[in-house]
């Protein structure tokens, strides 16, 4: 598949949230999923990916996001590089729930950016 063609898909499943859980939480859990999805290898290829978050997800916590994606931020040299390669979308049909999840993802991205730049939240206040 060429770099310009349709992006590949990585579909997260409800089981990856944990048994009877509606949330993606915990840095170790994120790191574990990263290994399962072989993101270390995927980071190095030339393709683009869409990562789909399953329906019925009530939270995508920064801890999980950082465990799953932070090594990619480092390899792809920050937020721009990461966003050029990966797009994260919710598969939620309920609009209100989807908007809440999108807010979570914005916060996750902010924290990843801060961690990448070695900043604290104070930098965004002052």
């Amino acid at each position: 598949m060429s770099n310009d063609s349709k992006p590949n898909e990585i579909i997260l499943t409800p089981m990856q949230r944990g048994i009877s859980s509606t949330t993606f939480t915990g840095r170790p859990q994120g790191m574990q999923l990263r290994e399962t999805l072989k993101l270390d290898l995927i980071d190095l290829d030339d393709y683009k990916y869409i990562i789909r978050i399953p329906e019925g997800t009530t939270s995508f916590n920064p801890s999980f996001y950082l465990g799953l994606f932070f090594p990619s931020y480092k390899k792809l040299k920050g937020v721009e590089g990461f966003k050029n390669k990966y797009e994260i979308v919710s598969q939620e049909k309920d609009e209100e729930l989807r908007l809440l999840l999108e807010k979570h993802l914005i916060e996750c991205e902010r924290q990843a950016q801060n961690e990448y730049a070695g900043r604290t939240g104070l930098d965004s206040i002052f």
């Binding site: 009530t58 939270s59 801890s63 729930l97 604290t120 104070l122």
Partner: protein, 187 residues
């Protein structure tokens, strides 16, 4: 004694011996001066360090103790009221599973917002002062956020036992938070 001196300085002129004595005296003065400078530097460093600690306690930590306590108390109270609302039998009869899910997501977002302010302001300030302590405090708050998220996210409709469990966890994090905070000032 005279024999030892005769042995040591055999063949030295009186000027040479005077020169040696002057050199030894000069070395003594230099060593004394260096000791004085080093002692002054150490005292200045200690004083500066003490001033920083005093500043940290008086300006940053002490005025915030009440707010930190209130933050943890409010977090528990907020959680309790959210769980009560989620498990209220009257609501459960009329609400669909989707509404239950949406409520959970809204409550989780509220909790995240509550924590974010605390992490970005107070914990951020501590991080600027001491990166190690700041990181530890941030990790504690992240684990509290995660516990809060999973407690609500995994809640089944008739389970209120999570209130006590969360409250205990929150108090545990609070005590660890203070322990780490006061490590910076050797309390």
């Amino acid at each position: 004694m005279k024999e030892i001196l005769d042995y040591l300085f055999n063949g030295w002129t009186i000027e040479e011996i005077r020169g040696l004595v002057a050199l030894i005296m000069l070395l003594g003065i230099v060593v004394g001066l260096m000791t004085f400078i080093i002692e002054r530097s150490i005292a200045r460093y200690n004083r500066k360090s003490e001033n920083r600690k005093k500043w940290l306690i008086e300006i940053i930590i002490s005025p915030e103790i009440e707010n930190i306590n209130k933050y943890f108390e409010d977090f528990i109270l907020n959680f309790e009221s959210q769980i009560n609302e989620l498990t209220d039998s009257t609501n459960l009869k009329i609400e669909s599973a989707q509404v239950f899910l949406l409520k959970k997501a809204k409550f989780i977002s509220e909790g995240h917002g509550f924590n974010k302010i605390f992490i970005d302001t107070f914990v951020g300030l501590i991080y600027e002062y001491d990166k190690n302590v700041g990181s530890t405090l941030k990790n504690l708050m992240v684990s509290l956020t995660d516990k809060y998220t999973t407690s609500i996210g995994n809640l089944s409709i008739d389970d209120k036992s999570t209130i006590q469990e969360f409250s205990q966890f929150c108090n545990f994090i609070k005590s660890k938070f203070y322990r780490e905070l006061f490590k910076m000032v050797d309390y």
